[in-house]
Symmetry: C2
Subunit: 239 residues, 2 copies
């Protein structure tokens, strides 16, 4: 498939797959952005102002209830787009979303994207598949939260983050990892030590480097992989 000139160098899978005839609807409205860690993308129950197509970095989507329990329900990187509710016809964010790992990308005003989806069936179909990919990820998270051990969940998260990075270094603290997994910070520390001892990762303050990815996949076992495989099927990627 030919790519429009404007998309040369674009890594985001969704933008990549926007049909040529749909590009005029959104391309001109994309604004390049640099996103620092902890930057807020969406606030629960508030209108979504922009959708972000990441190039690099990781967004954490975190469910929060009214007693302040919180847990990550999914991550979004270069393979997807934020603002799933918009695709479903709702303009309010359901969950908290923020940059877990800083990066870059493009954003588009919510109303422009909604209008574009209304105009083009093919664009809407693409966005819907992206949304479904996220649903699958959320379901897998529910499975992992209910069934997997801390170590397996940690492995799963590292793999998902690693997929979305361009290097093997994953910059994040035990503290935030604990929040996302819904466990104690001390528990994360101990689990990471286990990984380190087995030569799967190396660590520095605020950073963790993947050394032996297959080894980590072995630990995550079948808790990792399903959403990734399904997304490829949905978007028809061959690589």
């Amino acid at each position: 498939m030919l790519e429009s000139h404007a998309r040369v160098g674009i890594r985001n899978r969704i933008l990549h797959k926007v049909a040529l005839e749909d590009w005029d609807l959104i391309g001109p409205h994309l604004e390049p952005v640099t996103l620092k860690e902890r930057q807020v993308i969406e606030v629960p129950h508030k209108p979504i102002t922009h959708c972000y197509f990441l190039e690099i970095g990781v967004v954490s989507v975190v469910a929060v209830d009214n007693e302040d329990h919180r847990i990550e329900v999914g991550v979004i990187g270069y393979e997807g787009v934020t603002g799933v509710p918009l695709i479903m016809g709702d303009n309010r964010a359901q969950h908290s979303a923020y940059m877990q790992i800083g990066g870059t990308g493009h954003r588009i005003p919510a109303d422009v994207l909604v209008g574009a989806i209304a105009k083009s069936d093919t664009l809407r179909a693409l966005m819907l598949k992206s949304a479904q990919g996220f649903m699958i990820q959320t379901a897998q998270t529910a499975l992992a939260n209910g069934r997997a051990k801390l170590e397996q969940r940690l492995a799963r998260w590292l793999l998902m983050a690693h997929d979305r990075m361009t290097s093997d270094a994953v910059p994040l603290t035990h503290e935030f990892l604990a929040v996302m997994l819904g466990v104690r910070r001390a528990g994360v520390t101990v689990a990471i030590h286990g990984f380190e001892r087995r030569g799967l990762v190396t660590t520095r303050r605020g950073e963790l480097t993947v050394v032996n990815r297959p080894g980590i996949e072995l630990i995550a076992s079948s808790f990792y992989g399903t959403p990734e495989t399904e997304l490829k099927r949905l978007l028809g990627d061959t690589k």
Copy 2:
């Protein structure tokens, strides 16, 4: 809003909200069905043949991975419709779905529903909101699985089932409850005893009756309620 004659007596919230001008697209193709417990609705990775609009009963949607870990990611009753992937443009089921509590409803061939959604913007918007309601439920399940105690999760499930029943009796075994919550059968038995001792429920073999719903809500606390509230907002119900 006026209801078409054909819909008199329909309890399903989605069918109820189908606009008059959209009714011709699906109404004539609805087939009344009686659904017995354990009846299979969807099989993972296989094409979805029909979508079910339940009147009474509960469908369990269960994520299964390739090592046979399984856990319920959501339930569907009279408030929704099965076959979420179809709404998202995919014809394959992602999860296992089966009747957890027998009931009645109407079903429609998948291709008819897909065609109808393609023809009508308003119908599609309605179905998308239903799908989003399910997404919210799945996210809340991920939260509960990661953060809640067994007792709280049990309370949450009972409330969700109770919402979808027409009586206070919920027919199910500890065994299946355990599968859905992803815990031991023995654990469920003990937790139910606790409820019974506190006068929240009464039990018989294969059945459980809700006696003190507010008491159960107190236990579930904020792990119950969010998806229910949000679905009302999405569908604009006032009751």
